[in-house]
Subunit: 456 residues, 2 copies
């Protein structure tokens, strides 16, 4: 029996090995161009105690900024997207929300100034694991610190502040972007006018954690991953391909595949084989092939982990706030005494000591809370009560298996029950599953437009 | 950052390497004992043109066979199960349906003689890829021919015939076993008294094909898989572990995990890590660990592929029948002329020529059919019309994502519409997803008992 799918992996390894002969190292941001860079030259303390001595954010924008800078929409991306949401003269390639942004469209560039960023942790121009650690001028790789969705948003708001943008007209996003959109309202309630959260959640569900866990495991099992240190070697393209195939199952849904592929085989006249055979299999294979060298594997690990940890419950926010305060203090102490002035990154042990300093009593209280679903829901409500004065659109897709619609309903219900009088909740019957936010230009677009433009 | 999950894989490789030093080759059927063997010493032609020169079936049985051999229940297994459905003196370990089989239980051993087999293609005693090819006394590995669910059932009925069992009281199974249960009724309608099909389907859905495809891909990408030839080497334990983690997601469901694991972390006082961290992750890791050396990787490939190809539509059955007739003829010709008398396995090219002999016109008709969902459903109804005189219980689980409940409803509806007057259809609201058939002793058990014992 022939195994072209296995041969293909080996052939790519060989090809990649050849391309390293004297050639430049691969850069994941190569295919992305025409973005601007925000440079943050101060140390940035992360929620789990890590520190970025400095960071950069790649961003793109569309539409004119008005005189009082009050027409800004911050658009958050999904896990692996770049800041290129829409084509523009410096990069004419279609963006990932091409048909949603423009004059008269869902996000009307005649009215709004739209800013989209690549998240920190990513690989399309913003600081992430593939960026150079100033400590030794080598890529961070897995020396990059653990980041959270809150960290991504706090970094974005540093950028907004530097631009003199005090308050957003709206914080908008889908999937991980919908998490960020809600997180922005929680962290900076005075600076967010409206919120749109599409196909997202207020806390990650174990089923979606499981799906991302298998992707990470598959990637890390690729010998080329090499514990994250592959930047001058053959990258784990095989692991990335497999991770993308698993991800694609969670991004699209059964109903669409039933219509599009059914039980058709790619080459019906041949004997069935163990490599891709049915059309659905060649589709998954194709998605894996397209992605395997397009996104930094370490970024996938860090950013997907940030999604897993996402939880807007009051107790989690409180824990984070305490940890942040303790670490800030510790750092300031460190700066004032033993650590040299320019040692922006403190010794790892020191940070670890801060992070693990959650008292046993607090942990026990948390555990008890976790055994009581009702108390948990109240905890979430309390967490979301910060957003009670911000008009919010929550939109879910009934065929979404990654962020099931009950998670969007949970957000809407919690917001309403905490007294938010302006919550709009829509469910779409789209057959596209989680990816509907990229495809349902009319159904999703109208909801976005309506929410952004309605006077309240 | 530490990566114990990656180190663990490497450590197992080293340990396995050491165990090969002079020791015997690993045998997957080692942990299974106390089964009987049916030996079939004639060549057995498979649906896709392959030939097994001979085969064995491992089986176990419970309850007394009555005088006229009319009280037999053939119990079919899921993908990776052995014939050990229930403990007995020769193997006291609990079986996979321990609480469903016994005096007064769902399958009452005071009334029935239950036979459970390991499927061909498996690795628990029946002939499969890890068995010895008599041609060269080496394991078949991926020289093993492609098999179908129909092939498994035809082999089982050869065994029943040899035992003098003409007609089953019932054909019973869940998951892949539910496919076999239906297939038995289609192939041998005169020999099946009743049918029970739990959490199965009449044809595989592209979403379930996708889930099994990623498992195969992950396994085949493990360098230790070595295109299937690993029997005297370190087996692809890493690929198997990952495949099992993915499978586990589809076997269990969100609702159970929400209750059981929620967002709890294994070690809440530590910094989050990229290896298993949340309880749901340690659970998946544990499932992968348990399975990775327990089942033959090549069996996973062949048996899961057989599930993907499963389709009870009339057109598919007709195609198979034509192919079978052509190949039988060709074989007989080969035997009578050039091929030596003892060459039970014909040259591969010859078989390939038979298999690919589906005329272009037939393929075109099939393709047109596949573009018309209504015609497809009629095709399925026609296929199932063979079963119209056999009382059938179809049972589905509402939280099953691998075999969604609409697939069970489809089977029941088709059977009813073809004139079957004795179709029982139940939906269970169990939170256990696909695995409910192993866990819901009362809910599933009562339905099984009622159907088996009701006089009609």
């Amino acid at each position: 029996m022939a195994f072209p799918c296995v041969d293909q992996l080996e052939q790519r390894t060989q090809k990649l090995l050849q391309s390293f002969d004297g050639g430049p190292e691969p850069s994941y941001s190569n295919p992305i161009s025409g973005y601007s860079l925000y440079q943050h030259n101060e140390p940035f303390l992360l929620d789990h105690g890590g520190i970025l001595p400095k960071f950069e954010i790649a961003y793109e924008s569309w539409g004119e900024l008005n005189a009082d800078k009050s027409n800004v929409i911050l658009l958050h991306t999904g896990l692996s997207a770049s800041s290129h949401a829409k084509s523009h003269p410096a990069n004419i390639a279609p963006g990932w929300w091409e048909k949603f942004i423009g004059p008269g469209l869902a996000i009307d560039t005649n009215r709004f100034h739209v800013i989209c960023t690549n998240v920190i942790g990513g690989c399309y121009g913003s600081t992430g694991p593939s960026s150079i650690d100033p400590k030794d001028n080598k890529p961070y790789a897995t020396r990059f610190p653990i980041i959270t969705i809150f960290d991504m948003v706090r970094a974005q708001f540093e950028m907004l502040s530097s631009m003199g943008i005090q308050k957003l007209h709206a914080s908008v996003g889908a999937s991980m972007g919908g998490m960020q959109s809600l997180a922005a309202a929680l962290l900076f309630k005075e600076r967010v006018g409206k919120v749109i959260s599409i196909s997202a959640a207020a806390r990650s569900h174990p089923y979606s954690i499981a799906l991302r866990f298998t992707q990470r495991q598959v990637l890390m099992a690729d010998p080329n991953w090499n514990k994250g240190f592959y930047y001058d070697k053959v990258p784990p393209h095989s692991g990335m391909k497999l991770a993308r195939e698993i991800a694609t199952i969670s991004y699209r849904s059964g109903p669409e595949w039933e219509q599009r592929f059914g039980r058709k085989r790619a080459q019906p006249s041949t004997t069935p084989s163990l490599c891709a055979d049915f059309l659905i299999e060649t589709y998954l294979d194709h998605q894996g092939e397209r992605f395997c060298l397009q996104y930094d594997p370490n970024s996938l690990l860090y950013v997907s982990k940030a999604m897993d940890m996402f939880d807007l419950s009051a107790s989690t926010s409180a824990e984070t706030a305490i940890r942040r305060a303790r670490n800030t203090l510790r750092l300031q102490e460190g700066k004032g005494s033993s650590a040299p002035e320019n040692a922006a990154t403190p010794p790892e042990e020191q940070v670890a000591a801060c992070v693990t300093a959650t008292p046993a009593a607090e942990l026990k209280a948390k555990e008890e809370l976790q055994d009581d679903p009702k108390a948990q829901l109240n905890d979430l409500k309390q967490g979301l009560s910060t957003v009670k004065d911000i008009p919010t659109l929550v939109l879910g897709i009934q065929s979404d298996i990654l962020f099931p619609v009950w998670q969007q309903k949970e957000v809407a219900d919690c917001l309403r029950e905490t007294g938010n009088k302006s919550v709009t909740y829509y469910e779409l019957d789209s057959m596209y599953g989680h990816d509907a936010f990229l495809l349902e230009v009319v159904n999703v677009g109208s909801a976005v437009k309506g929410h952004l433009e309605l006077k309240e």
